[in-house]
Amino acid sequence: MTEPLVSVSDLRIGATTDSGRRVEIIKGVSFDIAPGEMVALIGESGSGKTTIALSLMGHTRTGCEIDGGTIRLGTSEITAMTERQRAELRGTKVSYVPQSAAAAFNPSKRIMDQVIEITTIHDLMPRAKAEARAVELFRALALPNPDTIGSRYPHQVSGGQLQRLSAAMALIGSPDLVIFDEPTTALDVTTQIEVLRAFKAAMAESGASGVYVSHDLAVVAQIADRIIVLKGGEVQEEGDVEQIMHAPSHPYTRELLSAFEPKLHASPASKEARPRPIIEVRDLCAGYGHMRNGEPLAKVLKNVSFRLERGRNLGVIGESGSGKSTLARAIAGILPPYRGDVLIDGQEMLPDLAKRSKEELRKSQIVFQLADTALNPTHSIGAILARPLTFYHGLKGRERERRVIELLDMVQLPAAIRHRLPGELSGGQKQRVNFARALAAEPELILCDEITSALDTVVAAAIIDLLKELQRELDLSYMFISHDLSTVEAICDEVLVMYKGEVVEALAARDMTAKAQHPYSRLLISSIPQLDTDWLSSLEQDPELVKQFALR
């Protein structure tokens, strides 16, 4: 076997918390990377995958420090180097592709200046040569207008293009090792495909080794040679992609894989004929900006119509900018629609939230994506849940306290949690509280806006199970907005596919993959990465279709 390019042995990284406590976040991690090999670091948030990846560049984020172990890259002992020596390695021997290129590009400098900055810092080549090399890389990464794209500012190109430009930025110094830190997580699925293909081709051409940090096993299966599964700062399992996918030995790996198994939603058989739909929407139009002649400047929703029977769930899928969150906001009246009708339980709703009666408000509740921003950080959980109880039902004192405990019990949280602040809870717990707040009103319809998107797969699956259970007990209907098709399949009966503010197709969730007719629905469904190492290379999409619909 050849000498590995990178050897990490017994790496320990500690962090100092705000209260001054020392905690160990990486607990003795060891692994090697062979020349030309792509190794994936897989794990959930808090598993330490990004911390390990950054330590390969000799960098730790504020508050963290390498406490022990060694990192060797080529002939350099990174752990023994001074900051100045490490700075010399960065960009030339090891480089970085960030999670969000949109944030990692300096908004006030032209793209070209930033892409070739590594050659300027390390004095690698004259500017003209660097620019020529950059254009070559742009071409290799399949970027449009490779000759001129460099003269633009970052806000003038799309997210998927920026992500590929950041790969050009990483490759310009011909590094031996490239670190990819969740580089496609923030992208839409149809964009992700092209970016992954470009990365794969560029890496094959450069012959460099790579570290690919991700939480998504299906994405990793397409690009990595070997997978290291991390949890709580420790290596759980390490092996070839095929072995991890098909013969995982560690229970945690199996748990991660099981989140991928399709769980089709079996709707509880309708007990009796329901008199009227829980929600009906007719020709709904909404938008943002100045109103002119009764129409807003930026029209987002265009004539959206649908109806949902009581006790059933509607999924709304689409990519960023498709108007799915706007739909929820328009139904709830947060963004009053300028045309069209919303009927909840047969009652026509006034467009503006402020003009609706308390009883109308009670019937439909909305749950937002980020519990962090939806829950007031200075209020205790008890106070957060008590407020809607007083508002809608006039509860006070001991009775209200009893109901708060009951609500916490419904979302499977201990009663004692009501004395805590949102900041003291985990992401999954916060989302449960967020959901309990909606339940406090005793609604009949709950609008869920991407409520599992910010959660780890295992936590998200538990939330979905909770939602189903509550539906059985409380006779709820959900409108479930998500960009994640498998989540929608797991809980919904019907699905609306949205594209640029319009519903392009409405179909039953169970045969979404098989029966989707509209070309955009087909493109979207075929773009979901599968747990199959050959999926990306064998995937064929009609280039015309991609050109027409993919939001690149």
Binding site: R61, R90, A104, F105, P107, S108, K109, I121
Partner: protein, 320 residues
């Protein structure tokens, strides 16, 4: 609209807003002065005046006209450069203010030239080496200065430099007649020192905060991961994105120089506009008070508008 014209559209919009604000200020200043107690004609003629004399003077001064008419007269005069006549000594106000304004602007100019470069350098250095000894020294200095009131600083400066050391004159009256550079320096030293210290302390803190905010962004971390040195990270990546907030911090601090120097001018008896306004209040010289107030507002507004325009032009999203 062509995208390249967009920033200029916002600039024009800012100017229009500034003019509107100025109009509202002129209304406020004029009618606030009208609310002051006492009849001007009676005050001017003294207690021995006959009612006929008072009535005659009122007509002559146009005080019989409705307030709106008086306001329109005053504003049109003001726009044509006619600031009116002082009640107290019958001198044209423009004449009274002219020399004083030059003096005040000189003081402000010298203070700006000293404080802005010093403050920006120290603020950026403090941000660059955050948490270091240098940063702590600068922070302790600025916080203690900000918490000391202006008149304390000025009085201390008099006590130390004029009374104990005897290096500088306690009064600045002679500055207008200063003959040599040395004398000029001496005349300005005290007010400039007191003003610069107060003004820079604020600018240092706000510059430091603005730069630190941009240092914490992912694109500055990205620069670090490209192997950039600390000075490159701060000067090339963080600073260009902090120009907007810094320009605002500088404008806010400097606007204080023109309007808020009343205490310093009074303590050092410096013959500037602020001193003039204080004297005008003592003699109930309404036209003079109005004119001084307008001058302060105009300078304040122009600085803030300038800062906004810098922020607009430095925003890359508005570039083509």
């Amino acid at each position: 609209m062509a995208p390249s014209l967009l920033p200029w559209f916002y600039v024009v919009q800012r100017f229009a807003l500034a003019l509107l604000t100025l109009f509202i200020i002129s209304l406020t200043v004029f009618f606030a002065c009208q609310l002051l107690p006492g009849d001007v004609a009676e005050i001017l003629l003294g207690q021995a005046a006959t009612p006929e004399a008072v009535a005659g003077l009122r007509t002559a001064m146009g005080l019989d006209e409705p307030a709106i008419q008086q306001y329109v007269n005053w504003l049109t005069g003001f726009l044509q450069g006619d600031l009116g006549t002082s009640y107290a000594n019958r001198i044209e106000i423009s004449e009274l203010i002219g020399g004083r304004l030059v003096n005040s602007l000189k003081l402000a100019g010298v203070t700006t030239m000293i404080s802005v470069p010093v403050a920006l350098t120290l603020g950026i250095l403090a941000a660059m080496y955050r948490g270091s000894a240098l940063d702590r020294v600068i922070s302790i200095f600025t916080i203690s200065i900000i918490s000391v009131p202006e008149f304390m600083l000025a009085t201390f400066a008099v006590l130390v430099f004029a009374v104990w050391l005897g290096w500088l004159p306690a009064l600045s009256l002679s500055s207008a007649e200063a003959q040599s550079w040395g004398e000029l320096l001496k005349a300005y030293a005290m007010p400039v020192i007191s003003l610069s210290i107060g003004v820079s302390a604020q600018m240092i803190r706000m510059t430091r905060a603005a730069v630190i905010e941009t240092i914490n962004t992912p694109y500055v971390e990205m620069a670090l991961l490209k192997g950039a040195s600390r000075s490159r990270m701060v000067l090339r990546h963080a600073l260009p994105n902090a120009i907007g907030p810094i320009a605002n911090a500088v404008a806010l601090s400097l606007s204080y120089l023109v309007g808020g120097v009343i205490i310093v001018e009074t303590i050092f008896n410096y013959p500037g506009v602020a001193k003039l306004m204080v004297d005008a209040v003592a003699t109930r010289d309404l036209p003079l008070i109005q004119s001084c107030a307008m001058i302060f507002c105009v300078s304040y507004l122009s600085l803030i508008t300038l800062a906004d325009i810098v922020a607009i032009l430095s925003n890359p999203r508005l570039r083509k």
